[in-house]
């Protein structure tokens, strides 16, 4: 009776290439557009980082005209990297993978999915447009008032306002995306796909989406209040008018701390997909990993004030203790990953190499983060380059290596072509060396007392060599993008044809063709564990 409704719509519409992409509601096309859009902004943010590093290569102001321009550069670098690159890039990989991995034909709300995506280039363009409308925001990505206020230390001009509006827009995109993920995961799973058979990637996206849905509106409220203060004479954050500047920091970090887990949990999910496949073993401690993910999500809401130890306005022992406690679930995960690799049949393909890059670099980022959780240490290191080193070890060494592991892993599924292994390994080596050369010296700079967010420093402070080294590393990272872009370019044209399941993987996205049809699956294998394809391949279904 309903046969016609079950006949896939393949071939029934013939829209032209570009028009099809601009109007699509297919989660796979939207996911790919997320990835491309995020990568473009990654390059823009990277150029800004190079400007920052070039200025800092030597003491003195070399080629930026004044300190204000430098402030604009690092503000826009961080804002673009966080809000228009890392978060959407991981959301994009999730957008591509989640419906496929749970055996669904699409997201729960495909048109809202398209809306979530299209807000991103718009928000990104608003941010970038402030370069051409009289100066960008320059108060750092945190935009604390009074630096960002229209008050005595004013941040005049439209740049800061454009920044606020862009972030509200991008935040709304995140919230809608998070709701979409949650409904998709709770309601669209294929028969047999119980919660505890879902791939880890789906679990990390689930926890991430809870964080996004519950925390992002809080920063929206902070931004709204900042906007009112700046434009309508409000007094939320203006101490002279009876407001409180620390209030902004509280509301801001209530989102922005969970946001660091939004920026790393899906990358952990990618790594947890890659490690089992390339070590030919199931993930060690599947359930422990899930509970650790949920634990990180829950703790993530109660540690925001560790960014504010030096304000003197927060209860230090509480926030310090809870921050240390986050090391426990994170340590559980590290154990899961290492135990998965242990005695595995490793094949060092590019996704695995990037995943191991993630493990090692994230470990360093986690350890130096635990140092900063200690209140006395934090008092010494607050706002120094130590913090810059820490956050780049988790965000670049962690998330970005995870992102590339994911791109190398899913590129065959997205395009039907393999990326070149040789170029991938060249990229990894350049990126790994460049990354450590850039950011390891920043630990030394921080310990030597160099503050972050300064355009110039004294030549006799002993910071010259480390800074030069860091700048050289920065350009090496930039160089490592060239083999990647070339790799994508030649692989799309002449890459080895991937086939449905080039990695002999475990999860459902590899049960359909590469690239999958718009409706995803003609039929699904039986789902009796978290590795349905492994079961099907070895005839273990039902055991």
């Amino acid at each position: 009776m309903a046969t016609h409704a079950l006949t896939p719509a393949a071939g029934t519409y013939a829209r032209g290439g570009l028009y099809e992409w601009l109007t699509t509601t297919d989660h796979k096309k939207i996911g790919i557009m997320y990835v491309i859009n995020s990568f473009v902004f990654f390059l823009i943010g990277g150029v800004l980082a190079l400007v920052v590093r070039s200025e800092l290569a030597q003491p003195g102001l070399q080629f930026l005209t004044d300190e204000h321009v430098y402030n604009e550069m690092f503000t826009m670098h961080a804002t673009i990297m966080i809000f228009v690159f890392v978060i959407p890039m991981l959301a994009g990989l999730g957008n591509y993978a989640v419906p496929l991995q749970i055996g669904a034909p699409d997201m729960a709300f495909p048109r809202i999915n398209a809306l979530s995506f299209w807000m991103l280039p718009l928000g990104g363009l608003l941010l970038v447009s402030s370069f051409f409308t009289g100066g960008t925001a320059a108060a750092g990505w945190t935009s604390y008032p009074p630096l960002s206020a229209d008050g005595p230390l004013k941040s005049p001009g439209s740049g800061q306002d454009l920044w606020i509006v862009a972030l509200i827009l991008i935040g709304t995109s995140s919230i809608l995306g998070g709701i979409n993920f949650l409904v998709t995961i709770f309601k669209m799973r294929a028969p047999g796909m119980t919660l505890f058979r879902m791939p880890i990637m789906v679990w990390t996206i689930l926890v991430t989406s809870v964080l996004v849905v519950m925390a992002t509106p809080v920063i929206t409220s902070a931004l709204v209040m900042l906007f009112i203060d700046r434009n309508y004479g409000g007094h939320f954050f203006d101490p002279f008018g009876g407001g409180s500047a620390v209030l902004y920091q509280n509301v801001f970090w209530f989102y922005s701390h969970p946001a660091v887990y939004v920026m790393v949990l899906p990358a952990m999910g990618v790594v947890s997909e890659v490690l089992p496949v390339f070590s030919r073993k199931p993930l060690f401690g599947y359930k422990a990993f899930i509970f650790a993910t949920a634990g990180i999500g829950a703790l993530g809401f109660s540690v925001w004030a560790h960014h504010m130890f030096t304000t003197g306005a927060v209860f230090l022992p509480f926030f310090s203790l809870l921050t240390f406690m986050i090391a426990v679930p994170t340590g559980v995960k590290m154990f899961n990953w290492v135990a998965t690799l242990f005695r595995g049949q490793l094949t060092f393909s590019t996704p695995l190499i990037f995943a191991i890059g993630f493990l090692t670099m994230f470990l360093i980022g986690g350890i130096n983060g635990a140092f900063s959780a200690s209140v006395p240490v934090d008092f010494a290191l607050h706002d120094t380059y130590w913090v810059v080193a820490h956050l780049h070890y988790v965000l670049f060494g962690g998330s970005v290596f995870g992102v590339f592991a994911g791109i190398y892993y899913w590129f065959p599924k997205m395009t039907g072509r393999m990326l070149d292994e040789g170029l991938g390994k060249i990229q990894f080596v350049l990126m790994f060396i460049g990354f450590n050369l850039t950011f390891f010296p920043q630990h030394m700079l921080g310990l030597a007392g160099m503050p972050r967010r300064i355009a110039d420093y004294a030549s006799d402070a002993g910071w010259n060599d480390w800074n030069l080294m860091s700048t050289v590393g920065g350009f090496l990272i930039a160089t490592s993008m060239l083999p990647f872009i070339w790799n994508v370019f030649i692989s799309l044209r002449n890459g080895r044809v991937a086939g449905d399941d080039p990695w002999e993987a475990n999860t459902l996205e590899w049960a359909t063709s590469s690239p999958p049809p718009p409706y995803n699956f003609d039929h699904l294998p039986e789902i009796r564990s978290e590795r349905p394809l492994f079961d099907a391949r070895h005839g273990l279904a039902g055991h």
């Binding site: 309903a2 409904v183 309601k187 849905v213 809080v218 929206t220 004479g233 409000g234």
Partner: protein, 215 residues
């Protein structure tokens, strides 16, 4: 095909069987999506309320006096005025909204349209009353810029008003679609979702009214 699905081999399922997942019971996608959206909105208002309480707790006027509302606005917010009528209007609209839900659940389309229509009108009336109340406050010299008191009052009630406006638009769409005959007892997820949202803005107003006018 639905009858056929039993005939599939044990190792194969139709891919679109996943679609029927929600039809097999449980909460519908639309209603779950709306509930998640409302939780997100709760956190947005939580941020504003936190700002309100923080501002209020720290407020000291120029003379060093700790008093809230500040001296100059001591009696400006009188709960026994137009705002009480507006509150009653909004609470009544929640009641009529629920009656509309009950009506459509038993396929009473006329009752549904009547009640949604009344809810829509009450929502508009609330907004008009709030606008008029704002004009009275402006006349007495209280604006967004008049100290933390004015800033918090107008921000909180203003964002609530914006949400009521959004709810009125939703109700308008639901009313239009209802008059076009698109809803029945088996198909009215949009109505359920809109009504949840409407109850949510009502609850926020009850909190706002109690905290701003009584606490």
């Amino acid at each position: 095909m639905t009858a056929d699905s039993h005939a599939l081999t044990a190792s194969e399922h139709t891919p679109l069987a996943g679609l029927a997942h929600d039809a097999r019971g449980g909460i519908s996608n639309v209603v779950l999506g709306m509930l998640l959206f409302i939780s997100s909105e709760v956190m947005f208002f939580a941020g504003l309320f936190a700002a309100y309480f923080n501002t209020r707790a720290n407020y000291v006027d120029v003379g060093g006096v700790k008093q809230w509302p500040p001296q100059q606005f001591a009696d400006i917010l009188n709960p026994l005025s137009l705002i009480l009528v507006a509150t009653i209007v909004l609470i009544s609209s929640s009641v009529t909204c629920q009656m509309a839900i009950w009506a459509i659940r038993r396929d009473d389309r006329r009752g549904f349209i009547r009640n949604i229509g009344v809810t829509f009108v009450l929502g508009v009336v609330f907004l008009l009353m709030q606008a008029y109340d704002y004009s009275l406050l402006f006349e007495e010299g209280m604006t967004l810029g008049s100290g933390p008191f004015g800033t918090t009052y107008f921000t909180l009630t203003g964002f609530h008003g914006a949400h009521v406006f959004g709810g009125v638009i939703m109700l308008g769409v639901v009313l239009y679609r209802g008059m076009a005959g698109q809803f029945s007892s088996r198909h009215h997820d949009a109505v359920e979702a809109a009504s949840l949202y409407w109850h949510f803005v009502d609850v926020v107003w009850i909190l706002l009214f109690s905290i701003l006018y009584f606490l």
